[in-house]
């Protein structure tokens, strides 16, 4: 286990390091002088110079990079140009909302796949198969902004059943039932594409497992269909599904930006949106790095989980 983690860690760290260089250079490549823009059109040169010194823009690029990365490693994400304040503080404000939304969506997607995947793989009913094929195609293809707007129209405009924007006024932790009402539409919207991909993936892997010799043996021994799928084939298919789940975090992180915007969910996605539209580059830079870090770490963790579930992967290097 630890051995596998140690083998995989260096490449993850290299990717993170290269990503940090790329993000830093990208933001530096923006045309125009950030300090001059911030100071305003007719600011005296001294004011511009003061701002430049405050932002550290007068130092060599290499030293700026080291300063930024050093800050990141010690939890200092820098200061916002325009929104104001410490970026770490801004991130802390939005983090709980985004984490709640993303985890709810992840849970929903995983549960959907765990139920629908085995049903789809094992069904002999052509109508169930058609229904699930339709669900899979639609959920994978339809963009979150399309399903999101349809959800708002159906549940918020035509039938006024659920709140379509924002978070509970009294906070997420005040009353669970009210929070659930606010959470359900954005979470379903964010979960749908991930649920579709995972369901399709799990069903396909399960179909492969069901063709294996060991399944024939188990069946020949008289084990019932349901038990064959749930107890035996699912165990073989799960490690691969876990890896697929890791890759889907990317869709969740990107989707969260959109879903938060559509449902006015005040999280990190809205902070990103503000950062871009107001050209607050330190904020964009910090959040890009944050999302890459989360994405790479989750993939690393799911790889490790894959190895823990499947000894062939764990021992692969020693064959």
């Amino acid at each position: 286990m630890t051995g596998y983690l140690v083998r995989r860690l260096p490449s993850a760290l290299i990717v993170l390091w290269l990503a940090s260089v790329l993000i830093f250079l990208l933001i530096r490549a923006i045309p125009g002088d950030a300090a001059a823009v911030l100071a305003g059109a007719d600011a005296p040169p001294e004011a511009v110079a003061a701002i430049r010194a405050e932002l550290g823009l007068d130092r060599p690029v290499g030293s700026q990079y080291l300063h930024w990365v050093g800050g990141l490693l010690s939890g200092d994400l820098g200061r916002s140009f325009l929104i104001g304040g410490d970026i770490a503080g801004l991130v802390a404000d939005g983090l709980a909302n985004t984490a709640t939304l993303t985890l709810a969506a992840l849970l929903l997607a995983a549960l959907t796949a765990l139920v629908l995947g085995p049903v789809w793989a094992a069904t002999r009913n052509p109508w169930v198969d058609r229904l699930l094929t339709g669900f899979h195609t639609a959920s994978v293809a339809l963009p979150t902004f399309v399903t999101g707007v349809v959800l708002i129209l159906v549940f918020g405009v035509f039938f006024r059943l659920l709140p379509t924007g924002g978070v509970p006024p009294a906070g997420l932790l005040d009353r669970v039932d009210i929070t659930a009402q606010y959470l359900v539409l954005p979470a379903v919207c964010l979960a749908l594409p991930v649920a579709g991909v995972l369901t399709g993936f799990l069903a396909e892997t399960l179909r492969g497992e069901l063709r294996q010799d060991y399944v024939t043996t188990v069946r020949a021994a008289g084990v019932r269909d349901r038990e064959v799928v749930v107890r035996h084939a699912l165990r073989g298919a799960l490690p691969v599904a876990v890896t697929a789940l890791g890759l889907q975090t990317g869709a969740l992180l990107g989707g969260a930006v959109l879903v938060e915007s559509i449902f006015s969910w005040p999280g990190l996605g809205m902070l990103v949106e503000q950062g871009i539209t107001r050209r607050d580059y330190p904020v964009v830079q910090a959040l890009l790095m944050l999302s890459v870090t989360v994405f790479v770490l989750v993939q690393l963790l799911t790889d490790v989980a894959h190895a823990a579930l499947d000894p062939r992967v764990r021992l692969g290097g020693r064959r």
């Binding site: 993000i23 990208l26 963009p143 129209l153 930006v257 949106e273 890009l288 890459v292």
Partner: protein
């Protein structure tokens, strides 16, 4: 290619075709200009003159929607092939030497370490909003996707016996790569092209929703949808046009990709 003349492949082609024809011919049939601001026609509901109503700036929604299809098709049909070509070129380059391969793989690793939409947002932050930005973003997002795909296909085909045979009878490295390996490595790209077209429509719409898309007052599927979002309570039907067209288009591309994938076996 027979997979595209029956079953879900055919359905997909028809869906994409209907939207494409609507975008190409439609603007000629509508009497309103997509930029024209019509006096006394603010946020009207559907009527005979304006089947989908008018928007907040008194413009005919149907005409903007049909012209928006053109913009989306133009963006996808430019950005996706360019991204695919650059990606394939880099991917093919990687198969020349192992040192190059390591460098290229790392480059793709880094690009793929960004969730697609996050990469789009980051790039747009640097190059600013606008139609060109949308194209550049889609191109960059597609580069590692196609690069990876072509690289692994080339590596797989290179092990095939007919390639060894071509090498044995004295074919040079570039010759074998060009006449034997590359043509046989292109198959998986067809599936990816269809998928990438739907990703392009998605990214265009997403960037519009986030306020960094096609530059106003130009119409696009995403731009029309984004405007309609502000008036869902006032005129819920406003949103239905862009929603339906976007859904039909991406579903069509998805079905074509599925059919092409199934045909590969």
């Amino acid at each position: 290619m027979s997979a595209l003349t029956r079953g879900r492949g055919l359905v997909g082609l028809v869906l994409v075709g209907v939207v494409a024809v609507a975008g190409l011919v439609g603007p000629l049939l509508v009497s309103w200009d997509p930029y024209q601001q019509i006096p006394d026609a603010n946020l009207l509901g559907p009527s005979a003159a304006h089947p989908l109503g008018t928007d907040d700036l008194n413009r005919d929604v149907l005409s903007r929607l049909l012209s928006g299809i053109r913009v989306d098709l133009l963006i996808s049909l430019t950005a996706v092939p360019v991204g695919a070509l650059i990606g394939c070129a880099i991917g093919a380059l990687a198969t020349f030497s192992s040192a190059l391969d390591v460098a290229v793989q790392r480059f793709f690793d880094v690009l793929l370490a960004f969730p697609q939409l996050i990469l789009a947002v980051g790039l747009a932050a640097v190059i600013g909003p606008g139609t060109t930005s949308v194209m550049i973003v889609i191109t960059v997002v597609e580069i590692p996707v196609f690069g990876r795909l072509l690289r692994s296909a080339v590596l797989r085909v290179r092990e095939a016996q007919f390639v060894t045979a071509a090498e044995v009878i004295g074919g040079g490295r570039t010759h074998v790569l060009r006449t034997h390996v590359l043509p046989n490595s292109l198959e998986p790209l067809v599936v990816q092209l269809a998928l990438s077209m739907s990703v392009a429509v998605f990214i265009e719409g997403a960037m519009s929703v986030l306020g960094i898309g096609v530059s106003p007052p130009d119409p696009s599927l995403g731009a029309v949808l984004t405007t309609s979002l502000r008036y869902l309570d006032l005129n819920p039907l406003f949103a239905l046009g862009p929603l339906a067209v976007t859904a039909v288009l991406v579903l069509g591309f998805q079905l074509v990709a599925q059919a092409a994938n199934a045909a590969r076996g």
